[in-house]
Symmetry: C2
Subunit: 428 residues, 2 copies
């Protein structure tokens, strides 16, 4: 006998647990499929180089990476986007725009904690080859469709921003180190006002500029209510003007999709520094108690790192850990239970073959049918049937000789004698 | 730009390819669910110790194993059975018999070749906690149900054996090294008669005993037609008698399931030496051109290696690589194509918002709807709609002002003017 524990941060899903999770995943797939995203599937393992491109050597500490027997440096995928980029660059013939989704497992070597696991599932939706406000709105809409189908419509808000807009305003303040400043802005939520401004002055910003950056990144609210304030702050240059008009355009399309009220502009949203070139957004529970439920943005300069095709892209990811926490808290997580249509009970072993024949008939009609496999008593069999939530118990006993069976409804306990030839239609 | 290749022996599935594969997997799940197997899900990574139990250090050469940052020896799972054993031993409260299935990815560090990949999917079905011929038949039947639902009913046969039966007959020949002899029998198919007998005499068997072992393991055919011959060879001991009666019993239940004609007894079937204690079986294409499509057997002494519960078990595995090859060869692999219900075409950008509103209405009804996201011509949009196999194109143009749209059927090219309020029912 050996150590029989699973690894820390990994999960076992027993049938009742898996049935509930499967229902959630099926709904998610239904939502994104209705939005005409196409499912792809891809390796769980890739070469480390694929991640070095953007993440450098830091990726080695955060992933499950190793040398295989052939000396290749490989890793369990920590995210899907590099794989998507690789797959798209390997096919020049794909019609644009490309709309792909998948729900791969991803692995990160982090300390497991609330909402953060070492192995998790992550929905990825990307639209590649189209760069306009309508496409941004389509992607945001898809995320809201997922939330709607999960009955979380009233439980979240999207906070969005445009990095070009933020960057151009920061530049107009005379800030040159916009990357470093954006890193501080990314942390703003975790900092006090004082800490935030101190971090900025440490970067060389004057107190008054730090003050202005603080005021700027305090802007948040309904887009239509903030456009005037934002417009008053943008400098007179093309980049700022384009970003601002894009935001106005986005607002129009969000209105057409009727999801405008789910969205807030928030100039402190930056989402790290890895990919994003324009729109960035995060979906949060309305109370703001959890990590982001989903997040994403536009990454127009990313695909070309993986091949010759220059393709703009926008996408989002949604992990299953935070989603599950919120759904459980809101009582939206499905019941964890087994379902069975029919249990075939045989009163004695002589009836076994008869029972198997009936079992086969029902299963052929896609009726989920369990049959007694052991030598056990009538009441033991009934208990098992109850345990697997059988809707009906078909009793193969003395009636069987006369081509009939007794059917017991486990819902109301009623019993009826049914001709075997009528059994399928009786059950269905 | 970097190296953008996937790893050798791993696979990318583009949307059209994935759609076909998904159809196959969905069918498989439907079959095993109708047989009341319950889906589980489990980690892709386990501690190496879990495999050492049965496979020893040899497992290290054949798997993707490594030390994680915490110094744990871990591996991508090469098979599911140890995980199933671990999960069952961690729960004493599960009702028996337990019927579980899953289709995990597995990874093996082998040279990729026809029907053998480094990353593959494998259907696993197990019945745990029941040891009788009826349970064996139920498991075999489940495998045949999978083959039936995939339209492979006429394309395969099951060859089965009972290891106790074979072992007891070999022992009656005075053979003591039955394990080594069974290893040679396992290879029989790849050997000439001469090589086979030489390998046996090398193990110390006399020429006449090697001859008898050869004759014995040549026995194959319909079970009912071979029972007499087998009975004439079994020794007068309890083990042999029990195994023989179990075989006769199994035959009766296979008949009840009406799958007797899919099964052949074949005394050369051994299936390695790792787990199996009784029934062993393999599903082969009728022409015998491929590796086994599926294989399994009874492993009654295995679960207890992982915990305190002593539980008999029987199971089978079916990888997707050989299955795909055979389905393709038989023209049973689904068409690789995208499917789309509706493409919403806007004649000019002014109609974009109108188009998005319609899109949203259709998607809410789970109609898979694509909408034009780019500025492009009427004919370009129509070409894209054709490319994604849209059934209908809804043209949002001048008619739209009057609350109507034009609907073009892409099947027959017919066009009709439809009230927007009737659109959902028209499409459905």
């Amino acid at each position: 006998m050996t150590n029989c524990e699973k690894l820390k941060g990994f999960r076992d899903f027993y049938p009742d647990e898996n049935a509930a999770r499967q229902k959630v995943f099926d709904k998610i797939e239904k939502a994104v499929q209705s939005c005409a995203f196409r499912k792809i599937d891809s390796p769980a393992v890739e070469e480390v180089d694929l991640y070095r491109i953007k993440s450098g050597e830091g990726i080695l500490d955060e992933t499950f990476n190793f040398e295989d027997h052939g000396g290749r440096e490989i890793t369990l995928i920590p995210e899907l986007t590099p794989t998507v980029a690789r797959m798209i660059q390997n096919r020049k013939d794909l019609n644009k725009p490309i709309k792909w989704y998948s729900i791969p497992r991803c692995w990160r070597y982090e300390s497991p904690q609330k909402g953060r696991l070492r192995e998790f599932y992550q929905l990825n939706c990307d639209i590649i080859g189209s760069d306009n406000a309508k496409t941004d709105a389509e992607l945001l809409y898809s995320a809201t469709e997922v939330m709607r189908i999960l009955n979380l419509e009233d439980s979240y808000l999207i906070r969005l921003n445009d990095r070009r807009l933020l960057e151009s305003i920061l530049e107009s303040y005379g800030i040159s180190k916009t990357e470093e400043v954006m890193k501080v802005i990314d942390d703003k939520e975790k900092l006090t006002k004082k800490e935030f401004k101190e971090d900025l002055t440490t970067l060389g910003l004057s107190h008054s500029v730090a003050e202005k950056a603080d005021e700027l990144t305090d802007i948040s609210g309904k887009i239509s209510q903030k456009t005037e304030e934002i417009e008053s702050k943008i400098p007179e240059d093309k980049k700022a003007r384009e970003a601002f008009e894009r935001l106005e355009n986005l607002e129009t399309f969000l209105k057409a999709y009727n999801i405008r009220d789910k969205c807030r502009i928030d100039l402190s949203i930056v989402r790290g520094l890895d990919y994003y070139t324009g729109l960035v957004f995060e979906g949060f529970d309305s109370e703001g108690e959890y990590r982001a439920i989903f997040g994403g943005g536009r990454y127009n300069n990313y695909l070309q790192l993986f091949g010759n095709q220059e393709l703009p892209a926008v996408g989002f990811g949604m992990g299953d850990a935070v989603l599950e926490e919120i759904m459980r808290e809101k009582n939206k997580w499905p019941d964890e239970e087994l379902s069975t249509d029919v249990y075939i009970l045989n009163v004695d072993e002589n009836k076994s073959r008869e029972a198997l024949k009936l079992t086969k008939e029902l299963r052929k009609q896609e009726i989920r049918t369990e049959v007694n496999l052991s030598k056990r008593s009538f009441s033991n069999q009934l208990g098992y049937a109850d345990n697997i939530n059988a809707k009906y118990v078909v009793i193969v006993g003395d009636q069987t000789a006369s081509s009939r069976v007794e059917v017991k409804s486990m819902d109301d306990g009623s019993e009826e004698i049914v001709e075997k030839s009528d059994l399928v239609s009786y059950i269905k």
